[in-house]
Amino acid sequence: MLRIMSARVTAQQQRLVASRLLHSSVARSNVTNVPPTSVPGTPSPTAPMENPTPATPSTPNLSSSASSGTPPSPPPPPPKPKTRNRFRNFLLSVSVFGAIVYGGGVWFALWNDNFHDFYTEYVPFGEQIVMIIEEREFQRRFPNAGRKPLEDDSPRVTVHRGGATWKMVGDEYKGPSTGPHVSAVAKDKTETKKDVPPPPAPVPAPPVAVPVQEPKKQEPLVIRETVLPKLPKFVFDGTIDPSLEGVVKSINGLFIALTRSGAAGPEELGALAASLGEVSNKFVTLRAKYETELRENLDQQALVFALQNEKREQDYKQQLVAVDEKWREGYFEERRRIMDTYKKRLIAELKKFNQVYSGRVRNEVAAANAEKDKLFADKVVQTVENERNSRLSKLKDLKAAFEEVMALSADVDKQLETAERTAELQLALGSLTSALQAPYPVPLAPIVARIKEVGGDDPLIAAAVAAVPVAAYDGVLPPAQLAARFKLLAPEIRKVSLVPADAGVAGFVGSWLFSKLLWKKEGKPKGTDVESVLARAESALVEGQVDEAVREVNSLDGWRKKLAEDWLAEGRKRTEVEFLARVLGEEGKVWQYKY
């Protein structure tokens, strides 16, 4: 809808623009034909009134044409009609759209039942419209349909769709618009039930027959006294079915009406009454026949039901028997299973008990054996004691004598051991002496260890061994090597013989130069100068008195002693070891005298 409106608006705008363009072109052609009388840029005061758009410098010709007095072009359509057209178009389109929608909806509702429901329920006024249309359609189809209300007291016979019925219409008549020919909507169920002919009264089983029984009409079936006594009367046995009273009543009324209207004479009515009597007789016969058949059917059905019931009972009994059998089998199976379980458990218990009992018996046997062994041992001990007290009593004397012999033997052994240790000590001391006198350094560690071992707890030997310097374990230099190293050391000592204390480069150079001028000494000169000391040490070394040479060198000082430190250490080591060897030799002699 909006789209349609917008399209229309755009179309109108385009039309407006086209008209303006046309107007401007016409004006321009006028301008070209008529020379301008006014100067461009000075528009006349009337220009803005004729032209709705404001005068701009780009349209000077338009104002000039307006001021020139030429006939103006037709003005563009004012905006007011535009709005009126728009509103009119809107109303028109709404009306057309509504008509289409409602018309299509009604048409489709008449055509489709589902849409009919939807339309009548949700579309406003849809139900009324559909009702009107349906009413008109019905009127068109059935123009003589009874819109006129029936007379209240006039009974009438109506023909049902399913055929002839004895039922009165007057009670259920609601008007022509609720009939099946008017609406396809399903009728009320109670109404349809009433239309169905109920089963006959003698049958007691169906409860539908109860509402059919209408005992209110118990008066004689000759309902209406005819105005004309000559008229035939339709008589019906009302004991068969009292509900047929209405039919009889309506037929009699029909007779009266026909007679009044003069449409039929008494003869026709008599024939009609006779035929109706035949029909009623036939109806009674048919009804009796129907009742008989119905009763037979009911008996057959009762027989069938009884047979079925008996069959079901038999089946049920068979099922009960089968279930009973099944449960019995299950019970026996379960009992057998439980018996097996208990049997296994009993066997296991018996086995375990056997094991426990046999173990206990074994333990008792072992205990009896142990008791027997103990008794036997006691008996042996007792026997031995008896023997000892009697025949073996002299063994005590023998034991005393034997102990004396043992003590003597121990003394002898001790003496022997001491002597052996002394001999070993002498042996070790001899090896130490020979090591010291060897022409090359001999390792002293094993010899010292042997002496320590042999010496045992002798304090002197232990102290002497502990006093051996650790540096001497690898051996000491022999005197010859000490003398050779001293020969190498002596020139170095001579070089620094004149160095004063805290000397510098000049002091050392001077000492080196002036020491060349010193006299060399030999033998054992007296004096504390370096040359005398060196001469005495050398003489001692030649004589093999290492301790003397060491003492002489040790008397040096300053750089002289510092240069001789290594030689002094070696000499001291040898001197100490020689002294300790002498001490150990003296102790070895003491050992010889002691033991």
């Binding site: 190498l488 805290d502 480069v505 000049a506 050392f508 240069l563 430190e565 030689w567």
Partner: protein, 81 residues
């Protein structure tokens, strides 16, 4: 780790002499080098800056030699092996 053999006591002085002489030579050479550079740069290649540098270097070596003999380690940098 290599084991440094201890110098024998009679070789102590010789070691010191080695250090002193080498130190003096190095310092003298340094003085000579400075002298040459100074002579070239500032004194139009005259000889006296060279001699002066040599003197300074030798004097420095002598002084450090005295210190070395007296038990110090002046001018000598002991590099751990």
């Amino acid at each position: 780790m290599s084991v440094v053999k201890k110098t024998a006591s009679e070789q102590l002085l010789n070691d010191k002499w080695d250090v002193v002489i080498s130190n003096t030579l190095v310092k003298t050479a340094l003085g000579f080098g400075f002298g040459v550079v100074t002579s070239v740069l500032f004194f139009k290649r005259r000889a006296f800056p060279v001699w002066l540098g040599i003197g300074f270097g030798a004097g420095r070596g002598y002084a450090e030699g005295d210190a070395i003999f007296r038990g110090g380690d002046a001018g000598v940098r002991i590099v751990n092996p």
